[in-house]
């Protein structure tokens, strides 16, 4: 329990400082703003409560986009890692493209995707998947590469086909790496969802933020941000739990010496 105390105290201090700074108009005065533009944590909290049904319905839209995009990213990212692992030709051909795909500014191409695919779920899923598959693929590939080179040899002497070695040795060995990649993907998925909704949407927390911002309802903006963070933290926590439950053997078997 002790390890919770330090961060809890820090959060409490930061929130308290923000509360006081907002209440005494320190920030607003410094920026020469109207005080209502700088909500205190208590204002955000009351917005979280009074706007709860609005936030919940939009959070549900965003959560579905995030889960759908993540599912695509994880499936595609893992399949890509397996194919690149199995074929060195594919690896040499695809790897530079993979890296290049991450240099594309998503925020810039998001509007184009909306022009091409419309306001439906399609472009949102595509954008989220695009920002999320990369950490999954790269981490899983690292996991495959970290497999003790003696193990595939041993499997050959135990009559294993290439597929059996992949299924019984390489995939379990890479699983902790894959889950690390998925945790990173979860964190960026929420960011991707907001970009996607800003590019064109009729609902979702990103959409809510845009609308609230244009009507200067800053407390609602912060409330939506808090919910987005909670979604990301919740998904991250679920994956961390999965990591401990299904990949308890962890990384680095290779470092273990005889």
């Amino acid at each position: 329990m002790k390890r919770w105390i330090a961060p809890a105290v820090l959060v409490f201090i930061l929130l308290g400082a923000w509360e006081l700074a907002a209440r005494w108009h320190v920030i607003a005065d410094a920026l020469s703003l109207k005080p209502y533009l700088v909500p205190a944590p208590s204002d955000v909290a009351s917005s979280l409560w009074s706007d709860r049904s609005l936030l919940a319905s939009n959070a549900w839209v965003t959560l579905r986009e995030v889960l759908g995009g993540l599912a695509i990213a994880i499936a595609v990212g893992f399949a890509l890692a397996v194919s690149l692992h199995l074929s060195s030709i594919l690896r040499r051909a695809f790897y530079p493209l993979l890296v290049a795909s991450q240099t594309v500014p998503i925020i810039a191409i998001a509007p184009i995707l909306v022009v091409w695919f419309g306001y439906g779920a399609g472009p949102k899923l595509a954008i989220i998947a695009l920002v999320c598959f990369f950490p999954v693929t790269v981490n899983t590939l690292d996991g495959f590469r970290a497999v003790d080179p003696e193990l595939p040899k041993l499997m050959r002497t135990l009559d294993a086909s290439r597929l059996a070695t992949l299924a019984r040795v390489e995939t379990p060995a890479a699983l902790p790496y894959f889950l690390s990649g998925a945790k990173i993907a979860v964190a960026v998925a929420v960011i991707g969802a907001v970009f996607a909704e800003w590019a064109g949407s009729s609902a979702g927390l990103g959409n809510l933020i845009l609308n609230a911002n244009s009507t200067l309802q800053t407390d609602r903006v912060f409330a939506a941000i808090a919910v987005l963070s909670a979604i990301a933290i919740g998904l991250f926590g679920l994956l961390a739990l999965a990591e401990r439950r299904v990949a308890w053997w962890g990384r680095g078997e290779r470092e273990r010496t005889a």
Partner: protein, 283 residues
């Protein structure tokens, strides 16, 4: 498909290289066939010459020890025999088959480290070869279970490797090798990672296990005593690049307790000759 390690082995066809056999002087013309023959094998990795020339033979059921200084190419020799690599020069035949894939089908290889899969229970690690051949999990476990009783692992079937001691892990690795159901066992420094006491215990245990199974085995080690105690015959290799510098017919004391065996006069003499050969090989 072997589903039990006790599957009777077909009589291997005899090798048609009497000259090589004569040069070895190990074939006694008995009814038992030649299980393994390594003739004039050399191997290099790029510039690095690992094995200069090695000749080696093992009759069916014979345990041949291979001793040599660390890094002399002993592990490479086992990988060559197992069919994991093709030798640059020379011939290797396992039960008369010299094709690498056919050797692979006839050799079970026990690596230096136990290489147990941490996510599998001990029994599933032991039965890995059966699973690889498509045997359902339950049937594979049924085949492995009796060996756990026989080899002092009863009660540890569902333990994870991380819950086992070093000696037990090594036993599970040996069972995995046995359950591969192959006629020839290749053991690479099986006890290198163990402390002295566990190591002595495990040597006694392996002596019993080898007697029990009656399988042909090549045991690679840098420990002269271990080789002499466990083998019918010991081949001494020079430092890299490896060549055979001595061959000793050991006192074959596997049936006696280790402490009595290693202190017998014949054993001590054989050990001194082996050590002298190793020292001579170093020059």
């Amino acid at each position: 498909m072997h589903t039990t390690p006790e599957a009777p082995l077909a009589e291997p066809p005899s090798l048609t290289r009497p000259d090589a056999e004569a040069a070895q002087g190990t074939v006694d013309g008995s009814a038992r066939g030649q299980a393994l023959e390594v003739a004039g094998v050399g191997h290099s990795f790029g510039e690095l010459q690992a094995i200069e020339r090695v000749d080696l033979a093992a009759r069916e059921g014979e345990v041949v020890g291979v001793v040599g200084p660390s890094g002399c190419g002993k592990s490479t020799l086992l990988e060559l025999i197992a069919g994991l690599r093709e030798p640059a020069v020379g011939q290797i035949a396992v039960e008369g088959e010299s094709d690498a894939d056919r050797r692979l089908a006839r050799c079970a290889y026990m690596p230096q480290r136990d290489l147990l899969l941490p996510w599998l229970r001990a029994i599933d690690n032991a039965a890995l070869a059966l699973r690889n051949r498509g045997v359902p999990r339950r049937a594979a476990r049924r085949a492995a279970a009796p060996l756990f009783d026989r080899f002092g692992l009863a009660g540890f079937e569902s333990a994870r490797p991380s819950e086992l001691s070093g000696g037990m892990r090594q036993r599970v690795a040996f069972l995995r090798t046995l359950l591969a159901g192959k006629p020839v066992l290749l053991l690479d420094e099986p006890f290198a990672g163990l402390d002295a006491i566990t190591r002595a215990e495990m040597q006694e245990w392996l002596a019993g296990a080898l007697l029990d199974g009656g399988r042909t085995a090549v045991l690679v080690t840098h420990d002269v005593e271990e080789a002499l105690y466990l083998s019918d015959r010991v081949v001494v290799l020079s430092p890299r690049p490896a060549r055979v510098i001595a061959e000793l017919t050991g006192p074959a004391p596997r049936m006696t307790p280790r402490r009595d065996a290693v202190t017998s006069l014949a054993f001590v003499e054989a050990r001194e000759r082996a050590l002298a050969a190793l020292a001579g090989g170093r020059r």
